[in-house]
């Protein structure tokens, strides 16, 4: 049954991707890309990767779509007529695709429990992590504890992306209040509903942040969801009001402090005489130490991701508002 659902979803994905090729209207391309992200998140659920589906739904479909729409508002909506010859790309793509499909024939069959990938590291995580780390969600255990150093690197990458966007675009603050009021003037219903929804969303983000050890979720997802709440506020009430709630400068400090909190846990465990990010020494009981460590570093990840996503949104939105005024 699940295999059939998987097949249908993959078929819909293939059709969506094919449709994207032939569309000249870039707005429609971005809409279909949102659908593509949603569909791939569904495929992730069917393939048992609930944490990944969570992240893809929030990040891929939410943030990417908003950013792409912001870019389209600046760069125009239609793609010009293609002057390239279509033949060479088709040739390159079919040769590469044929090579890859030939390569898959040597891969072990899909879903077989005896595949080599399931024999090596994974059994250790599956069998020992509930005892060693004491968390039911193995993905969180591996992400935050066994591969904590890796995740620190990823957090730094996200942080540096914010630096990159700020270096390229910067955030214009509206100094004078004479700029036309942005936001939806005539969409009164939307404003009121947004006011009702935003607290619920922030509450849900906190739940995802702190329940991520037991169910799907964690710092990455919670950060994005909290950022989505403020993005909703900024979209409905205008950028100036949103910046009055959380200023861009404060976000920069937040982004940095999240990374520092993460690295600080590592340094603290070194001072206790252990290795970098060795949570066993954070408390007298190793399992309790693991709990503290994971809770704190997930918080650091959540703070950084929240601040980075909101900073990127501010940068894009201030570009669109500026060009709109001109």
């Amino acid at each position: 049954m699940i295999e059939w659902i998987d097949l249908i979803l993959l078929g819909m994905l293939a059709l969506t991707a094919l449709r994207v090729i032939f569309l000249k209207d870039l707005f429609a391309v971005v809409m279909l890309f949102g659908i593509y992200s949603f569909l791939s998140a569904l495929v992730f659920i069917v393939l048992d990767a609930v944490d990944v589906a969570f992240t893809e739904a929030a990040v891929g479909a939410g943030i990417s779509t908003v950013l792409m729409l912001g870019t389209l508002a600046l760069t125009g909506r239609t793609e010009k007529e293609n002057t390239h010859s279509k033949l060479l790309p088709i040739l390159v793509v079919s040769v590469t695709g044929a090579a890859l499909i030939y390569g898959t024939l040597d891969m072990p069959p899909f879903g077989n429990p005896d595949n080599p990938i399931h024999q090596h590291v994974a059994p250790r995580y599956i069998e020992d992590s509930p005892k060693e780390v004491g968390l039911p969600n193995m993905v969180t255990s591996v992400l935050a504890s066994y591969r904590g150093f890796d995740t620190l690197g990823e957090t730094v990458v996200v942080f540096s992306a914010a630096i990159g966007v700020l270096a390229l675009l910067g955030i214009r603050r509206e100094e004078d209040n004479n700029t036309p009021e942005s936001g939806f003037k005539e969409h009164r219903v939307l404003q009121i509903v947004a006011k009702i929804t935003i607290p619920l969303v922030i509450l849900f983000a906190l739940y995802v942040q702190f329940h991520g050890d037991f169910g799907p979720g964690g710092g990455f997802q919670a950060g994005v969801i909290a950022a989505a709440a403020f993005i909703l506020y900024g979209l409905v009430f205008g950028l100036a009001k949103s910046m009055a709630v959380i200023s861009p400068m404060f976000l920069r400090y937040m982004a940095a402090s999240g990374v520092l909190l993460y690295a600080g846990v590592g340094l603290f465990s070194m001072m206790q005489g252990g290795n970098f990010l060795d949570y066993n020494l954070l408390a007298s009981d190793p399992v309790a130490g693991q709990h503290y460590g994971i809770l704190i570093i997930e918080l650091g990840v959540g703070i950084t991701v929240f601040a980075v996503m909101l900073t990127i949104f501010y940068a894009f939105a201030s570009q669109t508002e500026r060009s709109n005024i001109q």
Partner: protein
């Protein structure tokens, strides 16, 4: 199959029926405003029926709370989104199928 299961499958069936009829309406109605009407009404009723059907399958725990949260959230946001969409379509110049198209024409081909 006990009594609860039968009720819940009936609710699920009714929910999918309304969802399906909404999707048909998306194709069959003559203009955008009637289509948005079909889509948004069936969206709400399908969400209510199907989530009620699923609620009967839970014991009283966290999942119940989550399902109710989903229902409340959908019931708040989905009609709002439809309303805002219809409103901006009207402002953007789409016409009802009963109205005569003006000089520029009321329909828009965007492919």
């Amino acid at each position: 199959m006990n009594f609860l299961d039968i009720i819940s499958s009936l609710l699920l069936f009714a929910g999918t029926f309304f969802a399906f009829s909404g999707a048909v309406g998306l194709f069959r109605f003559p203009d955008f405003f009637t289509r948005v009407h079909a889509a948004s009404l069936t969206d709400s009723i399908a969400a209510i029926l199907m989530i009620a059907g699923l609620l009967l399958q839970t014991s009283f725990d966290l999942n119940t709370a989550k399902l109710i949260f989903i229902l409340v959230f959908l019931l708040i946001t989905s009609p709002t989104a439809s309303h805002a969409l219809a409103k901006s379509a009207r402002h953007g110049g789409l016409l009802l199928f009963t109205e005569k198209p003006t000089k520029q024409g009321g329909t828009n081909q965007d492919d």
